[in-house]
Symmetry: C2
Amino acid sequence: MSTGPLDDEPPGPAEASGPPSVPRGGGREAITRAARESFAERGYHGTSIRDIARRAGLSLSALYHWHAGKQELLAALIEESIDEYFRRCDAALRAAGDDPAGRLAALVRATVEYRVSRRVESTIATSEWRNLEPQHRERLDGMRAAATRLWADLIDDGVARGAFRCAHPGDARRAVIAACNAIAQWYEPHTHGGLDVTDLVDRYTAIALRIVDCR
Amino acid sequence: MSTGPLDDEPPGPAEASGPPSVPRGGGREAITRAARESFAERGYHGTSIRDIARRAGLSLSALYHWHAGKQELLAALIEESIDEYFRRCDAALRAAGDDPAGRLAALVRATVEYRVSRRVESTIATSEWRNLEPQHRERLDGMRAAATRLWADLIDDGVARGAFRCAHPGDARRAVIAACNAIAQWYEPHTHGGLDVTDLVDRYTAIALRIVDCR
DNA sequence: CGAAACCTATCGATCGTCCGTTCGGCGGCC
DNA sequence: GGCCGCCGAACGGACGATCGATAGGTTTCG
């Protein structure tokens, strides 16, 4: 959405085509990945740009060649994360039918799968939000609000149509979201590898349906 | 209840009492309070001890006169926070009867009241945990585990006795705890002042009972 | 075809600032 | 006169950021 034409990958090192600039040291992507891991492990202020550069196997100057600075690195990471989450939710809802329970299940599935598959980014987005400078925070607040609205509209609709009987939709919404989001904090692929993600989705769908008191 | 300037023992400037050392500049308590607010607002690494000293209205040296350093300040804050939470839970459970639903309600009440009344400490304890050095972390991990066990034993017992019908007690436990803990992140006394805490307790008790599928 | 100009990805060195911590001293109440 | 609460100055190091240089590829052009 934002950070430029080369956000994904520098033109491939495809053999046949002419060799258009192949970052020798891994380039932008190596730095982004290193920043993601470092921010997740030690937090924004606990990570120095020297840590990031070292992890990427590049120099401090290479970092500044590819990115505007530490703050933009954080903002880009969070933006990409929220953006993907929103797209997943949107797609899940469009594929779902009209039944409130089915729509809630779709949103829970999208969220659980996202939290499991993007644990690292999830941690950053939730715990480093306050370290965004106002310019970035304002922009990203809108995206966050849009994702929240997906949940709110869905639950309000279910209540209005009598499918959900919970007395306080706002609290139900916060409880469901909090429960799903917390997965990123305790789920460890090594430890819970035996737990199939589809099982996890089923369990949290059942919990969510009970929270909204689906008849 | 808690963080008042005279919460501990430093005898107030009461006229009659007299002798025992009254810190002129607010002393230890002023620094602890300043550290709590700063850590909560900007995080451990985002806060400098100069920020803390300035906020307390004292010099950098005064901070070191009262505390061993930045890390000990954080550890003391978190320890006090967990310790009080555990004592509240323990008291609530001892006052509760034998009925699983009643015991769960007691634990939810203790947790919700705690998250609302100690929002600031709650934020620090949950988000600055990783910044504890190993020695402190190991000690505090035990306290955290004890609090989790309170929930786990209660829910397992309810399931064993047939009062709760949820298929996966561990997931129910994590969902309930996550929902209650999240309150500290969205509840604002100014905004939600009209919402009585007893109402909030009732709402979250209902949600918790639905999560564990109480018959 | 070859050279000169240009671009890209990277480097090492360096800037001024802020960090956590330490130390010696000083005024006022016992 | 000694201790208690507090201060200012200082230390070495790490921080985020900037700079000019360079190796090697690409384009331009005579």
